[in-house]
């Protein structure tokens, strides 16, 4: 059981990267982005292209760091994937969501267009890489470290936790200390007042998509390192992402983080009693319970 909780925290930290982006976008645009899961997929596959395609061709050595399963190729691919998906998210907003916003389209139209975008992304991944599960480094034995309480954890997983932790700290400092970060919080709080205060809300929206996309890409790559890559990996994350977002209170970044950890632990612990295939059902049950009993989330926020 303690081991499952630790694995749940690892999974939860990956969910958190997606959920934070989802909640930021929702907070500012009041828009449920059903394509957000597929941004994780995009990030993971861009890193795959770099690690197995471009970097070998460029002659970047295939070394590994200590007992980790990856080396310089992934260390370079990770930030590049984040930047690429950030730009892709901004592009999607410019060509798809922004024109719809300008036309004052309703929430259903926005949600449907996001659903369409998610299909497009998934199909592109399927065309380029096929429907099989892939690995960044196939067939490598990854030794586990033994911790007390019979917890076995791989060095990769420790690094995943540390990476998520540093990204969250960086985001926290950005939101609390920088002018743009404060403007993002102000815009999420009250976009009309932000406009009459002279805040350039269009620029805030671009930053929001960029950050949301970059975090999603990070989540996708980390999941690829931890488990595997699959064209539907992001789509399968959508339910836990929304559950974590609603659990933490929509628009509440810190709530999304805690919500994601709860979702990760709930899903992993459930495998002690149920088949692993029921994991998404757990996310669904948690989401329904919250919607029924506490739609404003456990930490307060906008009602779902």
């Amino acid at each position: 059981m303690p081991e499952l909780i630790v694995y749940g925290i690892v999974l939860g930290s990956i969910i958190a990267l997606g959920a934070i982006g989802l909640t930021l976008v929702y907070g500012i645009l009041r828009f449920a982005n059903f394509a957000h899961g597929d941004l994780l997929t995009t990030g993971a596959y861009i890193a795959l292209f770099l690690v197995t395609g471009l970097f070998p061709w460029l002659g970047i050595p295939d070394t590994t760091f200590g007992s980790l399963s990856f080396g310089w190729r992934m260390a370079l691919a990770f930030p590049i994937a984040m930047v690429c998906v950030a730009m892709a998210s901004i592009l999607f907003d410019r060509i798809l969501y922004r024109p719809l916003r300008k036309k004052r389209s309703g929430p259903v139209i926005m949600a449907m267009s996001a659903l369409g975008a998610s299909f497009i992304i998934r199909m592109i991944v399927l065309i380029l890489w096929g429907a099989d599960s892939l690995f960044y480094r196939p067939g490598v034995l990854r030794p586990a470290i033994e911790l007390p309480l019979e917890i076995k954890i791989r060095p990769d997983q420790i690094l995943i936790l540390l990476t998520v932790l540093s990204l969250v700290v960086i985001l926290y400092l950005f939101l609390q200390r920088t002018k743009m970060g404060k403007a993002m919080r102000a815009t999420a709080d009250n976009i009309e007042l932000a406009r009459v205060s002279g805040i350039d809300t269009e620029r805030v929206i671009i930053w929001t998509w960029g950050i949301g996309g970059a975090l999603a890409a990070a989540g996708g790559v980390l999941y690829g390192i931890d488990v595997q890559l699959h064209p539907y990996m992001g789509w399968n994350f959508l339910l836990p992402l929304f559950a974590a977002t609603i659990l933490g209170g929509i628009g509440n970044m810190y709530g999304a983080l805690i919500g994601a950890l709860i979702m990760g632990v709930a899903q992993q612990v459930s495998t002690a009693y149920l088949l692993p295939t029921y994991k998404p059902a757990i996310a669904f049950i948690v989401m329904i319970l919250i919607l029924l009993f506490r739609p404003q989330g456990i930490f307060g926020g906008r009602r779902a």
Partner: protein, 234 residues
């Protein structure tokens, strides 16, 4: 010189014109109040002046420059700020952050201005790191006015600053409006509290059914029995 000039302004929502052919002027260092019954178009007038609503006809000039049809984020850069009646603070931000957001378009060092705001509203200084959502109505109204003043505007538009405040606080808010005015800011204030507002106003405009029906000095309107009976509730 007139700092703000509104001429033949007509605007509204959807198909209907709410505001019809309204003209008004605001001189330097003046306070002009807009009074009248509910639904007279008072808030619509402010929103149209500030570019939140696009006027159908007429024009708005700020310091002799045409600003008709400009968006609020452009107008705010030209020296006019606006305090909405409701939702006029960022609840999840601290007092200090609210003021900083008011200064968003400033690229210079605005620490002096921040200090001036704390001098104007000393109550806010000790609580500057508190979230605004936890403050009382009167304190929030001060934060809202402070936010709008951060850009050092020539003109301030206030939409019902005393709405839903306790009587004691209403008096305090009116005192603050006079204090702000003394720092060289011309003010247009929309109010339900007509008599109190007229006492601090140089001039008043009475709006009814979207039209300006009367205009005079604050003192004259208060003494005018007919206007009092019709629009100021006896």
């Amino acid at each position: 010189m007139m700092v703000l000039e509104v001429r033949n302004l007509t605007s509204g929502y959807g198909e209907t014109d709410i505001l019809q052919d309204v003209s008004m002027k605001l001189g330097e260092n003046e306070i002009v109040s807009i009074i009248g019954p509910n639904g007279a178009g008072k808030s619509t007038l402010l929103k149209t002046i500030f570019g939140i609503l696009k006027p159908r006809r007429g024009f708005v000039r700020l310091q002799d420059k045409e600003i008709t049809g400009l968006s609020p984020d452009k107008i705010v850069r030209k020296g006019m700020s606006y305090v909405p009646q409701v939702d006029n603070v960022f609840h999840s931000l601290t007092i200090q952050e609210n003021l900083e957001m008011g200064a968003f378009v400033r690229t210079d060092d605005y620490r002096d201005r921040l200090q001036e705001m704390y001098d104007l509203f000393p109550l806010l200084k000790d609580r500057r790191n508190q979230k605004v959502g936890n403050l009382s109505g009167g304190q929030r109204q001060m934060v809202a006015m402070g936010r709008a003043l951060m850009l050092d505007p020539k003109v301030l538009l206030l939409d019902e600053p005393s709405a839903s405040l306790a009587p004691m606080l209403v008096e305090m808010i009116f005192e603050k409006i006079v204090d702000i005015n003394k720092t060289g800011v011309a003010i247009v204030v929309v109010e339900q509290n007509a008599r109190e507002t007229l006492k601090i106003s140089n001039r008043g405009c009475v709006l009814s059914m979207g039209r300006k029906v009367f205009e005079d000095t604050g003192k004259a309107i208060l003494e005018n029995e007919e206007v009092g009976k019709l629009y100021l509730g006896g």
